[in-house]
């Protein structure tokens, strides 16, 4: 305890964290309010919304997976060149040469699959709990956009290893875009930067996957979380679950 006190009761610590560490309620509130990383939380939360059955923590799981994806993705970028056929050679290098390369790639891959699942289940949870009801209509729309962004992120990342799986998965997908009336062929041409899935397409998917879509997702998540706070905290099951209906009044 003396070490803790010595660490926290000096000018340097106090210049960063302005409140003490003693377990007073004031300090607990300050910890949340005075910290840029925590201030999206409210100082107090409803007991009900902490229960697993009110959210199953699916939004939190999605966000955690996105953080894991960002970190592992940034590290993988250091060994990846978005060009043909270097991209595939880099996969082999990750597999056989780079220390822990396989582990990082596995982690990125499985986290991506898990995030698609988590975001989808998050949407289902919100639907069945009817947590999209006014005033949360707009946040539901933001959530749908985030689901689409998640799918796009996963899909653009799918091409990057430049193996058979990637190439044909993306060929089939972009031909689906071509089936769209009027705008389809032109949009596919812009997306691929050409008529075939080639070098330009790889570079475009790389830029979308590593810069554009993550930025869009971060922006969307910021709006999403902000609205959750502004609309009165998470709507576990908006307090009116059937099972509760007899108990509340």
């Amino acid at each position: 305890m003396d070490v803790l006190r010595a660490l926290t009761e000096n000018r340097l610590w106090r210049s960063v964290v302005r409140h003490g560490v003693r377990g007073t309620n004031r300090n607990r509130v300050m910890l949340v309010m005075e910290n840029i990383f925590l201030h999206l939380h409210s100082a107090k939360v409803r007991r009900r919304s902490l229960e697993i059955s009110s959210t199953y923590y699916l939004g939190g799981i999605s966000l955690t997976l996105f953080a894991i994806l960002t970190i592992t993705g940034l590290m993988l970028m250091l060994y990846y060149h978005p060009s043909v056929p270097q991209a595939y050679d880099d996969m082999k290098e990750l597999q056989f040469v780079v220390s822990n390369g396989v582990f990082l790639r596995n982690m990125h891959r499985w986290a991506a699959h898990a995030m698609v699942l988590a975001v989808f289940f998050h949407m289902l949870r919100v639907f069945y709990h009817k947590a999209y009801r006014p005033p949360r209509e707009f946040n539901w729309v933001v959530g749908v956009v985030l689901l689409l962004l998640t799918l796009l992120l996963s899909y653009t990342g799918y091409l990057l290893p430049w193996d058979q799986l990637a190439f044909w998965g993306v060929s089939v997908g972009t031909n689906m875009v071509k089936a769209m009336p009027v705008l389809g062929p032109a949009f596919r041409f812009l997306l691929l930067g050409g008529n075939i899935v080639g070098e330009n397409a790889l570079l475009r998917f790389y830029v979308l996957h590593c810069v554009f879509l993550p930025l869009a997702l971060v922006l969307g998540v910021a709006v999403h979380l902000w609205r959750v706070r502004k609309d009165g905290g998470i709507a576990g099951s908006s307090g009116l679950r059937r099972a509760d209906a007899g108990k509340i009044p």
């Binding site: 006014p134 996963s154 430049w162």
Partner: protein, 232 residues
């Protein structure tokens, strides 16, 4: 719209009989008592840290056990057989097997997205009234009139994978209308709102199509049994 303040008091001695009237479409906000909130600082943050730890540990173990797939280098002149999209698009790919691309690749996904987006704006299910908790005979007739031609269409295209869950969900929905329906079933089913029925139908169809795409499709997109031929 009149707002009601809903106060919660579980002290049976202070308030021996408690009653509150809430209009169903009113945004129900529970003004909870003091004992119903927790400080975020230890309670929520600890849960978040545990959540992050669980996610990292589970992913790390999965990554040590299972390797991400990597096939041969991309070859534009040689389509692998079967050529499968990522698993979350296999439901769409399975649909593409039955319908032309404009329908399965563009129309149906666009309809699904639009349908999901408009849910809160059309006041869908804001009242959360069960299908049988209001006059239901006309609604059931309309639903039947929609389901019948859709089923005929599905039979014409031989889309059994969509037909079976459609009929199953519809029969569950219609079950309480049958006089001989067991009481427990009727009580449970009649409380489910129409929007939940539709979403459940959508989820059932999407998961069945996706599972078929993942496990039951082999070379040339022919039907295979995963336990006999393996997963392609």
């Amino acid at each position: 719209m009149s707002q009601f303040r809903l106060e919660k008091n579980n002290d049976a001695r202070a308030v021996p009989r408690r009653i509150a009237l809430i209009r169903r479409e009113a945004p129900a906000r529970l003004l909870e008592g003091r004992e119903e909130v927790r400080m975020a600082a230890p309670h929520l943050l600890v849960r978040e840290v545990i959540l992050i730890q669980i996610c990292v540990v589970v992913l790390a173990v999965a990554s040590l056990l299972f390797d991400a797939p990597l096939e041969g280098i991309a070859d534009p002149s040689n389509t692998p057989n079967p050529a499968k999209a990522p698993w979350y698009f296999l439901g769409l790919q399975e649909l593409l097997h039955y319908f032309p691309p404009i329908v399965a690749g563009v129309l149906l996904p666009a309809l699904a997205i639009i349908g999901v987006v408009v849910i809160p704006y059309f006041r869908i299910n804001v009242e959360a009234v069960g299908f049988y908790e209001r006059p239901w005979r006309r609604s059931l007739a309309i639903l039947g009139a929609v389901t019948a031609p859709v089923s005929v269409l599905l039979v014409a295209y031989r889309v059994w994978a969509v037909l079976v869950p459609t009929l199953l969900i519809f029969s569950l929905l219609a079950l309480p209308a049958v006089p001989r329906c067991p009481g427990a079933w009727r009580r449970r089913l009649s409380r489910v709102p129409l929007s939940d029925w539709i979403m459940t139908w959508f989820v059932a169809v999407a998961s069945i199509l996706t599972l078929i795409g993942i496990f039951f499709r082999g070379p040339g997109w022919t039907w295979t049994w995963p336990w006999r031929d393996g997963i392609f």
